[in-house]
Symmetry: C2
Subunit: 352 residues, 2 copies
C-alpha cells in the first residue's frame, strides 16, 4: 500500500486532537433519532426481569459510543435531508425503520462485545467489570445469544428482507473473522494480508452494512448504496487499526476497557507487525519469541512502541483508509456529509 | 393437572416400545425433503474452511435425529398433500422455503446444543466429545454464534417476514428459558409451574414454531396454524419431560450424550420433583440436601428412581401432553397426520 507522506501528530497519551469536535457535538444533528434508539434499548431492558434485566441494562445502557447506530442514521439522512415533500414523507415512514435498524446493530455489537470479552478473558469494559466477571461465564454465553436474537427480531419486524439478509450475513462473517483470529493465535508470521482480511471481517463488515442499510432505507440507488458501503468498510478498517494501537498505547482509564489483550492472547496486529519490522534482528527474535509465548509485558511493549514511533506509523495506515472512506462519499452533496466526515475523523483521532 | 388413569409399561432400560415404528420408517414419506435439508447443511459445511469446516461438520453432520426439521415438513404437508392443482403448484413453489426453514431450525437447534453443552460442561454428544471438549471453549462460543447467524441468513432469504420474526423471537425465548434455569440452579423448591414454564421456553417453543411455520408456508388458515403451533408446544413439553427422565435413567451409550447433568448442575426437573414427593420425610431431607449441594450420585439416584417408579410416574405427565398434542390436530383430515402421530409416539416412547 502507498503510505501517506504527511506525518501526523498523534501522541496517544494526550486527548484527541483539538480540531475534532466531541462525539456529542458530532451527533447533535441526529440527537432526536439517537434518543429514539436509546428508547428502544431502554424499553427492551425494562421488559426483562431479574438477572436478564440487570445484565441487559449493564451492557446496553452503560455508555456505548453508538458509533454504529450513528452511521446507520447519518447514512440514511445522506439522502432524505435533500427532500422533496414526497421523499420526505417516504423518509418519515422509513425513519422508524432506520431507528430500529440502528438499535439492532447496537444489539449485535453488544452481543459481540460480551462474547469477545468472554473469549479474551477481559475484565474491564466501559470502566466496569465485564459481563462474565460480573454475572459469570454461563450468563455471558446466554446474554450474547439473547442480544443477537433480539436484534434479529427487531430486524425481521422492520420488514426489509435485504437488510435482514445482510445483517445475518455480517453476523456470520464477524464470527468467521473471530475464528480466523483464534486460529492465528501466537502465530508471529501472520501476514498483513491476513490481518486486513480478519479486521475487515470482524469489525469493518458491520460498519459497512450499517452504512449500506441506512442508504437502502433512504431509497438510494444501488450505486449510492455501494458507495456508502465502501465508505463504511474503509472507515471500519481505520477504526480497528486505531483500536489495535490503543491496545498497546491507550489508557485503560480513558478507553474504559482491558488493554494489552492482543499480546496476552497472541493476536498479531498491525502495530505489532510494524514494530517487528523496525527492530534489528536480535531484538526482533526476542520480541517474536516473547510474542509466541504470550510473555510480552505491557510496559516493555509500550516503551518499544514509543521508541519506534509505532503509533504514528500505524496511524498512517489508518489515515490511508480514512481517506479512502471519504473518497467513497465524495459524490454526495448533502449537509449531512460534514457530520459523517467529522465522525470519521473522530474515529481516526480518538484516544478511547 | 389430571393424570391419565392408564399405566404405561415404560422401562427405560429396554429399547423403545415395539409398537412404535423406527424414526427412519416414520420419516420415509418426507425422505426426499429431509435429504434436501441434509444437502443444505452439507453445502454449508463444505463452503467453510479449516477449523470452521471441521467444527460445522462435527456438530451438523453427526447424526442428529432431525425431529425439528421433520415437524416443519410434516406440518407443511398437512395441507399441501390434500392438493388442488393450484394449491399443489403453490405448495411446490413454497416447498423450497419449507426445506430452507427446516434446515434453519436444525442450525438453531445445533447452536443451542453447542452453547448448552458448554454451559453444562457436558463431555459427550452423539457418542462423540462435545464441541468444547474437541475444539475448545472459545470455538464453542463462536461456533454457536456462527450457526445462529447462518440460520437467520437462510431464514431472511426464505423471505417470509412473519416466520423470520417468529424464529428470532423463539431464539430469544429459548435464552430466557436457559437463563431462568441457571437462576434456579441448586434451588430445591422450584415449583411445577416454574418447571413447565422453563421447559416450554427452552424446548417446546421451538418445536411449536416449527409446526407453525410449516403450516404458514402451506398457506393454512390462522386457526390451522394455531392448532399446529399448539400441537408443537404440547409435543415439545412431552419431549423435554422424556429428556429429563432419560437424564436419570437413560443409557449414555444409547442416548449418545452426557447424562446426569441435571443433578450435577442443580437443575430441578419433574422426575426429581416427583421423587422428592414420594420419599418419606427423612429421606426427602437427605435427598434435597444432596441436591442443593450437587452431590447426588447417579447410581443412588437411579436406584431410588427405579424403587419409586419415577420413570413411569413422570411418563404419565409426558403422556398427558402427548394426548393434548394429538387433540390439537384432531380436526385435520390428511394422510400425513398418521406420520405426525407416529413421530409424537416416537418422541414419547424413545429411549434416546
Amino acid at each position: 500500500m502507498n503510505l501517506p507522506a504527511k506525518n501526523l501528530n498523534l501522541d496517544l497519551d494526550i486527548p484527541a486532537a483539538d480540531d475534532v469536535p466531541s462525539l456529542q457535538d458530532i451527533v447533535r444533528p441526529i440527537a432526536r433519532q439517537i434518543g429514539a434508539v436509546e428508547d428502544v434499548l431502554e424499553s427492551f431492558c425494562a421488559a426483562n426481569e431479574g438477572v436478564l434485566k440487570d445484565s441487559c441494562g449493564y451492557i446496553l445502557l452503560g455508555g456505548g459510543k453508538r458509533i454504529r447506530a450513528s452511521i446507520v442514521l447519518f447514512s440514511y439522512y445522506m439522502k432524505s435531508f435533500t427532500g422533496k415533500t414526497e421523499n420526505e414523507m417516504r423518509g418519515g415512514r422509513r425513519e422508524e425503520s432506520a431507528v430500529s435498524i440502528a438499535a439492532a446493530v447496537e444489539l449485535i455489537h453488544s452481543a459481540t462485545l460480551v462474547h469477545d470479552d468472554l473469549i479474551d478473558r477481559s475484565v474491564l469494559r466501559r470502566l466496569k467489570a465485564t459481563v462474565q466477571v460480573h454475572f459469570g461465564d454461563d450468563l455471558a454465553v446466554l446474554l450474547g445469544d439473547y442480544l443477537y436474537a433480539k436484534a434479529f427480531e427487531i430486524i425481521a419486524n422492520a420488514g426489509d428482507k435485504e437488510i435482514a439478509s445482510w445483517m445475518a450475513g455480517v453476523a456470520r462473517v464477524m464470527c468467521e473473522g473471530e475464528i480466523a483470529q483464534i486460529n492465528n493465535r501466537y502465530r508471529a508470521d501472520v501476514s498483513e494480508h491476513e490481518y486486513f482480511s480478519i479486521i475487515e471481517k470482524k469489525t469493518a463488515s458491520l460498519i459497512s452494512v450499517c452504512a449500506r442499510s441506512g442508504a437502502r432505507l433512504a431509497g438510494m440507488s444501488l450505486s449510492e448504496q455501494e458507495n456508502l458501503a465502501s465508505f463504511g468498510l474503509n472507515l471500519g478498517i481505520s477504526f480497528q487499526i486505531v483500536d489495535d494501537i490503543l491496545d498497546i498505547l491507550g489508557s485503560e482509564k480513558r478507553t474504559g476497557k482491558t488493554l494489552h489483550t492482543d499480546t496476552e492472547s497472541g493476536k498479531m496486529t498491525l502495530p505489532l507487525m510494524i514494530l517487528a519490522r523496525e527492530l534489528d534482528n536480535e531484538d526482533k527474535n526476542i520480541f517474536l519469541k516473547n510474542f509466541r509465548a504470550g510473555t510480552i509485558s505491557p510496559e516493555s511493549l509500550r516503551s518499544l512502541a514509543v521508541e519506534y514511533n509505532i503509533a504514528q506509523k500505524a496511524r498512517m495506515y489508518a489515515d490511508e483508509y480514512y481517506k479512502k472512506a471519504l473518497m467513497c462519499i465524495d459524490n454526495f452533496d448533502n449537509p449531512v456529509k460534514g457530520s459523517l466526515i467529522d465522525l470519521s475523523r473522530f474515529i481516526l483521532k480518538r484516544d478511547y
